[in-house]
């Protein structure tokens, strides 16, 4: 294993060889930020339970992943969600053949950075790095330091985007390891509405790419964004994902997320309540099994008065896997009349599995309503008996309860096609657990 400093050197060499878009401001800032930071290690509170050492063993950092794939298999994977505007990335690169978003491109709503006109360039330079500070986030700095492409989603004021926008991030088997960097900037102007779906998926089971995704979102006054995220890559996959959101006054942000475990999954969600009466809802469910590792970090910066947030995450942790949930609510002194609630319920299904849950409340205002809670439990014996008393054997009863635990969150996804896609991915995820495989297969075929 190479040392963290050697590893960082390799990364910097990789950056030297890469070319960023010359009009972008962020790469120079990111390079400086990167030079001043060390690779995150476990001495940092935010990386206490996740060792990047797990991924240091593979040669991710020296090269960029190649966009190779089986086109037929890819088509099958992306066609399950109809009636969307779709952008498809293969190991970090846009694939125009599989993408279909010309309508929104013509309207200037979806633009690749490389196609940006002058006003779009100005917009990108204004916002990129304004919510996500590369000085604070090593992997964002690594990403932004080599920005040769990106996606701008810009919804003009008073506009309701009719169809959801689907971003598909596909990882596929490659001959050698490499890194895939993707970045997107989403700006929803005042009084507009958008549904954004992110489908992280894969083809093959020897994925050697480390996907490093950075996303910044601005939801302006009275605008609404509904954000559905499905992270369902094969377990050989590794991902570091940073999502940074700014909410203006009276804006509404709703997120539903599913995360399936893999070699490494790190999800950071930072939300800043910048204007009064903004609302954020975060619903999530994560599953880990085998030796998988999932690390969820949610940080809610309540910086304005009269904002509300509701966070509910469920964890399903089995075998020898490890999962982390860290949810922080930070109420700034000026954020009076905040109502913020955060809950994390977990099912721990094996003695070898490990779960670290840490809800945090930091309150500097005196007139707020806040609650946080976390629980770790096993399957409920009364419920098991109920199922058994109807003729179901113990294994089936357990499987049904497990499914129910997860499905309670899946059913909150406000899109039935997405629910079916998730059920199908869960059937794939549980292909080595007969009962769960059968239950999710049945659910995915449900009309």
């Amino acid at each position: 294993m190479i040392s963290p400093s050697e590893l960082k050197q390799q990364m910097q060499q990789q950056i030297e060889q890469s070319q960023s878009l010359d009009w972008l401001h962020i790469p120079a800032r990111a390079k400086t930020a990167l030079a001043q930071q060390d690779l995150p290690n476990r001495k940092l509170e935010s990386w206490k339970y996740t060792s990047v050492a797990a991924i240091q063993n593979t040669d991710y950092f020296t090269t960029l992943a190649k966009p190779e794939l089986d086109l037929t298999a890819a088509q099958k994977l992306i066609k399950t969600l109809p009636d969307v505007s779709r952008l498809v990335f293969i190991n970090g690169r846009i694939n125009l053949e599989l993408s279909d978003y010309s309508d929104l491109e013509n309207q200037g709503i979806i633009t690749l950075f490389s196609n940006a006109n002058d006003s779009q360039k100005a917009l990108i330079n204004k916002h990129l790095g304004s919510i996500c500070d590369p000085e604070q986030h090593f992997f964002a700095a690594l990403n932004y330091a080599q920005s040769n492409e990106g996606v701008l989603i810009h919804v003009p004021a008073e506009f309701k985007v009719g169809q959801p926008i689907l971003m598909v991030y596909l990882s596929s088997d490659t001959d050698s390891p490499g890194m895939a960097h993707t970045r997107s900037l989403v700006i929803v102007e005042p009084r507009s509405q958008l549904e954004l779906i992110e489908q992280y998926d894969s083809i093959g089971n020897h994925l050697q790419s480390l996907h490093n995704h950075v996303e910044e979102i601005v939801v302006m006054e009275n605008a609404q964004l509904r954000h559905l995220r499905i992270q369902a890559e094969d377990e050989s996959h590794a991902m570091i994902n940073g999502l940074h959101i700014e909410l203006a006054a009276n804006s509404h942000y709703e997120q539903h997320a599913l995360t399936l475990g893999s070699l490494l999954k790190r999800n950071d969600i930072n939300i800043v309540f910048q204007g009064q009466h903004a609302y954020a809802q975060l619903n999530g469910v994560f599953l880990s099994k085998h030796r998988q590792h999932i690390d969820n970090h949610i940080n809610l910066e309540h910086a304005s008065a009269h904002c509300n947030s509701d966070t509910e995450y469920k964890g399903f942790v089995s075998d020898n896997s490890r999962a982390i949930f860290n949810g922080r609510i930070h109420i700034h002194p000026q954020a009076q009349k905040t109502a913020a609630h955060l809950n994390n319920k977990n099912l721990l299904l094996s003695k070898q599995a490990e779960l670290n849950t840490k809800p945090e409340l930091e309150i500097y205002a005196d007139d707020v309503q806040c609650s946080h809670g976390a629980s770790i439990g096993q399957l409920d014996e009364q419920s098991l008996f109920y199922f058994q008393s109807r003729g179901n054997d113990r294994a089936t009863a357990e499987a049904m309860l497990c499914m129910g635990f997860v499905n309670e969150m899946v059913r909150r996804f406000p899109n039935e096609n997405v629910q079916r896609l998730i059920a199908d991915r869960l059937a794939r995820y549980f292909n080595d657990v007969d009962q769960l495989h059968a239950l999710w297969s049945m659910e995915s075929n449900d009309e």
Partner: protein
């Protein structure tokens, strides 16, 4: 009836929950086709009896025997009892959000049919059957799509128990205070559902605190449970007498 062998034979049953003896030498014989009502004051052991017969794990049998269809019932796991035809309608049905009622019902029916050597019903046939049974119980078809008992009213939960019973077609149904928490309309619907299942092979044990259910489902025998054993048995008139005088005069 006299020449058939009993469906259920409970002898001197002593059972405990959390180390506390609740049933204290209970004996009961039930023949095919019979309806037995078990009545008694709170804490007399009524629910314990039905739970012990269904195989609830936290109920411990200390002594006594239970023969069902001539075999030792106590040796069987809860799911084996169900597959052999025992059905417990729960006093407090469990809520399982995220598992659709339809999936739960189909899995249950499939497991029982499989045990009986019958083919699994295909999904369309099962849906059709389930919808018919729902209609009988005045339940909307959407009821099947909802999570098991999730957000159901008290009455819906009890009707869901009857729906399960109608689909699983048990030989011995144990109805644990199925009438509690039901208004008069819901009680009538539930009673009609139960009466529709009466036949010469099927026996039903009704556990109830009140006589009013017996206005709709007329039992062949009424037993009064007190202190963990049956202290008095009779016919329907006994139930009426209990309604009149309360339980005090028996103990």
């Amino acid at each position: 009836m006299s020449n058939t062998s009993p469906l259920l034979e409970v002898k001197d049953l002593v059972a405990a929950v959390d180390g506390k003896t609740i049933l204290n030498g209970l004996s009961l014989t039930v023949n095919p086709g019979e309806i037995h009502a078990i009545m008694g004051p709170n804490g007399s052991g009524k629910s314990t009896l039905s739970n012990v017969l269904a195989g609830r794990p936290d109920y411990e049998v200390l002594s006594g025997t239970v023969q069902y269809k001539g075999k030792d019932l106590l040796e069987l796991k809860p799911e084996e009892r169900a597959r052999e035809g025992i059905f417990l309608a729960f006093q407090y049905p469990v809520e399982i959000p995220g598992v659709s009622n339809m999936h739960f019902l189909k899995a249950s029916v499939d497991s029982i049919r499989k045990h009986q050597g019958l083919a699994e019903l295909d999904t369309p046939s099962f849906m059709k059957l389930a919808r018919e049974k729902c209609k009988d119980l005045k339940l909307k078809p959407e009821f099947l799509k909802r999570g098991v008992n999730e957000g159901f009213s008290g009455g819906e939960k009890k009707r869901n128990e009857i729906l399960q019973m109608a689909l699983l077609e048990p030989l011995l149904a144990l109805l644990d205070e199925t009438d509690s928490g039901l208004d008069i309309d819901a009680l009538q619907i539930a009673a009609e559902g139960i009466n529709a299942l009466r036949n010469a092979q099927r026996a039903i044990i009704l556990v109830t605190h009140y006589q009013r259910l017996l206005n709709y489902i007329v039992p062949d025998y009424v037993h009064v449970l007190a202190g963990g054993k049956i202290v008095k048995s009779g016919t329907r008139e006994l139930a009426l007498e209990l309604e009149d005088k309360g339980y005090g005069w028996i103990q």
